[in-house]
């Protein structure tokens, strides 16, 4: 279970509070108007923003003092999820190696992950040589290899058209099921939420409401 225990974030001119639990394995859509603090909520869970008060716990472990790199979290950002100078395969294998030299076995795993997201044979291409949807798939292949318990998605697919986005969401569900991850995803689109989420968190007027099931 992911616990946000009386979390308070100060975000420039306003603050955001959150006090709720998310069950392990839940798939949660985080919704609300622009600028309400949805991204900040995710960044705080990942450790990129420090809360002014409160604690974040996962399986009863307090994550609050941990660096982002020590948390059981993988995250996809709004953009820059792939390094443009590396091939898709090199990007994906980073999920296993964290930049150390990859073994043959790790490269094989990365190939398999690429194949699973429908990118078999694309490993040698650079991000600029594939479509936006294919970049999203490659990033998800890396998440698959990271296999961390919590997956945070900060609108990584918002630039894609709705058909392509729905394919991505189906893939997210697949990845989440396979890695048994708890997923929180920022979205603006009710239909996206319907397609993917078991629960919805509304963020508005400085409060992130507890998740309610759909």
């Amino acid at each position: 279970m992911l616990v946000l225990d009386r979390i308070k974030l100060s975000l420039g001119s306003f603050s955001l509070t959150a006090d709720f639990n998310v069950n392990a394995g839940a798939r949660v859509a985080v919704m609300g108007p622009s600028g309400a603090g949805k991204s900040s909520l995710l960044l705080a869970m990942a450790g990129f923003i420090a809360p002014t008060s409160g604690r974040i716990l996962w399986s009863e472990q307090d994550l609050t003092p941990l660096d982002p790199s020590q948390r059981p979290v993988s995250m996809l950002f709004q953009d820059q999820n792939l390094f443009p100078h590396l091939t898709l395969l090199q990007n994906v294998v980073l999920g296993l190696t964290a930049g150390r030299r990859a073994t043959t076995a790790q490269l094989a795993q990365a190939e398999a992950a690429l194949a699973q997201v429908g990118l078999a044979g694309f490993g040698g291409r650079k991000p600029a040589q594939v479509s936006g949807g294919q970049m999203g798939r490659a990033a998800l292949a890396r998440v698959l290899l990271q296999a961390r318990p919590i997956l945070l998605l900060d609108e990584p697919f918002s630039a894609l058209d709705s058909d392509l986005r729905h394919q991505m969401l189906d893939l997210v569900v697949e990845v989440a099921v396979q890695t048994t991850a708890t997923v929180l995803m920022v979205t603006h689109d009710e239909r996206d939420a319907a397609r993917f989420a078991s629960h919805v968190i509304n963020v508005d007027h400085g409060v992130a409401q507890p998740p309610r099931s759909r």
Partner: protein, 508 residues
């Protein structure tokens, strides 16, 4: 959040630079003797400031019409010309001086022609010659910076001005003058600083009581008079004026840029002056190079004794000091971009506050009790050249490091990359073109360096510039020209090689 491992490299680099510079300068203090500062020393100080101010002012003034003409004019070979006028950037200053001597010196074409028509001859020696050489070396920098300035005025503003039917005068008052007023102080300051420490130009074209720079005075007092306390006095004087100039530069420095709009080029009507201005500039830059080529080409194969050893030594100094400079700059720029304190920046900028020969005297005094200083000449040449290139390479790398950090810091953290992985997988490949350019620039700067080795007078192990200067001193002008031509070729080859290795298309 930033890992500690990352700071070890930066702290090592900062410590190394600090030790080298503050250590060297520290050894000056016990030898300095204020009571012995003479009128000759003040004359040197006055001349140094005067020639630097004149060089900077003339470079700025000439750069205005040249950059303006280059910005507006559309002609075949424009790109090639811009590249030609960038050449003096990496031209060894000794080579520039030789080229100018070949054009403006006594008994050559220009003065013979003037004499034939009864006009007074131009003397390239003294203040005029020193300023001429400095303008030759620095006008390209001024022109490039102003060209960027013109390019950074948003296209929309030029369009607006055109649609309002601005005439030339209004255009200048409302668009060009604000840009110039913002940029010129920075350009003046950087050229002023560079000219304060210029040595080989003053050595060959200056000299005598009326045209000696402080840097030249340091050299003379150590080499010829062996007056250690005068050398220490002058070295401290040099450091003091450099520090003041750095403070002045920091105060007026304004990075170029006037909002967005670099993409489209405006079509501006040129005027009749553009053509002659561009032609004159092309001649000014091409003639000295052509003159060296013409003189040196004949002897290019028939080389003086010791040439290959000298070339090898110069290349070794250039390459090792370039790698050292770029390594230190990268460590410091990365640390700064990743949130290290101002100390990283100060360490990178520290070498600007002094000169090669001031450091050299300090090192000489430090080593003398322990070993014959000339035995360390090569090592010191490497260290000092690396230190002197550091501020420039750091300035090149910092914005790029900031960009990588802004774009990928979270992704790198989220992937749990350790420091060395960030360096190897992200920073090095993303920065490769700038690293290549920085290596090329530092190597070209170092290969033409004349300072420390000349100061220590390691007679048995000359570098190429020393060899060329010796031949010149012995009036073997053709052999000197051949060696200089080789020096130019090597400087350009090193620059091209490194710049090319960096590749321009890394990234997408």
């Amino acid at each position: 959040m930033a890992s500690r491992t990352g700071e070890i490299g930066a702290i090592t680099a900062a410590g190394g630079v600090g030790l080298l510079i503050i250590g060297s300068l520290g050894f000056l203090l016990p030898h300095a003797d204020i009571s012995r500062v003479s009128t000759a020393d003040f004359a040197a100080l006055r001349f140094t400031l005067l020639q630097a101010a004149l060089s900077a002012a003339v470079s700025c003034l000439l750069a205005i019409p040249l950059a303006r003409a280059l910005f507006r004019a559309q002609f075949w070979g424009r790109a090639a010309l811009i590249r030609l006028i960038s050449a003096p950037f990496i031209l060894p200053s000794l080579a520039a001086v030789m080229g100018l001597l070949a054009v403006f010196g006594r008994g050559v074409v220009l003065n013979d022609t003037l004499a034939a028509v009864g006009a007074p001859q131009i003397s390239i020696f003294g203040l005029g010659g020193v300023v001429l050489a400095h303008v030759f070396l620095n006008l390209p920098l001024a022109t490039r910076m102003l060209l960027n300035g013109w390019g950074s005025v948003p296209t929309e503003r030029f369009r607006l001005a055109q649609s309002l039917s601005f005439r030339r005068r209004e255009m200048f008052v409302h668009l060009e003058w604000p840009m110039l007023r913002a940029l010129l102080p920075s350009i003046f300051a950087v050229i002023f600083l560079v000219c304060l420490t210029s040595f080989s130009v003053a050595l060959i074209l200056g000299g005598g009581p009326r045209a000696t720079t402080v840097e030249l005075g340091i050299y003379q007092s150590l080499r010829f008079e062996f007056d250690l306390s005068r050398a220490a006095n002058l070295a401290l004087m040099q450091t003091a004026i450099c520090l003041l100039a750095v403070v002045f530069m920091a105060a007026v420095w304004r990075p170029a840029g006037f909002g967005a709009g670099m993409d489209r080029r405006v079509q501006l009507r040129g005027d009749w002056l553009d053509g002659p201005v561009i032609a004159l500039a092309a001649l000014f830059f091409a003639l000295p190079l052509a003159a060296i080529a013409a003189r040196g080409l004949a002897g290019l194969i028939d080389l003086p004794n010791g040439f290959w050893m000298a070339a090898g030594r110069s290349i070794f100094i250039a390459v090792t000091s370039a790698f050292l400079a770029v390594w230190a700059a990268l460590m410091l720029a990365m640390a700064r971009a990743r949130g290290a304190g101002i100390w990283a920046e100060l360490a990178a900028m520290l070498p600007l506050g002094t000169s090669s020969l001031a450091l050299g005297v300090g090192a000489f005094l430090a080593l003398r009790p322990v070993m014959p200083p000339q035995n360390a000449a090569l090592t010191l040449a490497i260290l000092f050249n690396a230190a002197l290139a550091l501020p420039f390479v750091y300035r090149l790398l910092l914005p790029a490091c900031r960009e990588v950090q802004a774009g990928y810091a979270r992704l790198m953290t989220s992937l749990r990359m350790p420091y060395w992985a960030m360096l190897r997988v992200v920073f090095l490949p993303r920065l490769a073109p700038i690293i290549g350019f920085g290596l090329g620039l530092s190597a070209a700067m170092a290969v033409g360096d004349f300072g420390v080795i000349a100061l220590f007078g390691a007679a048995d192990q000359p570098t190429l510039p020393i060899l060329a200067a010796r031949l010149m001193g012995a009036y073997q002008m053709q052999a000197a020209a051949s060696v200089t031509l080789w020096l130019i070729l090597i400087a350009f080859a090193l620059f091209w090689l490194f710049d090319h290795l960096g590749g321009r298309d890394a990234g997408a």
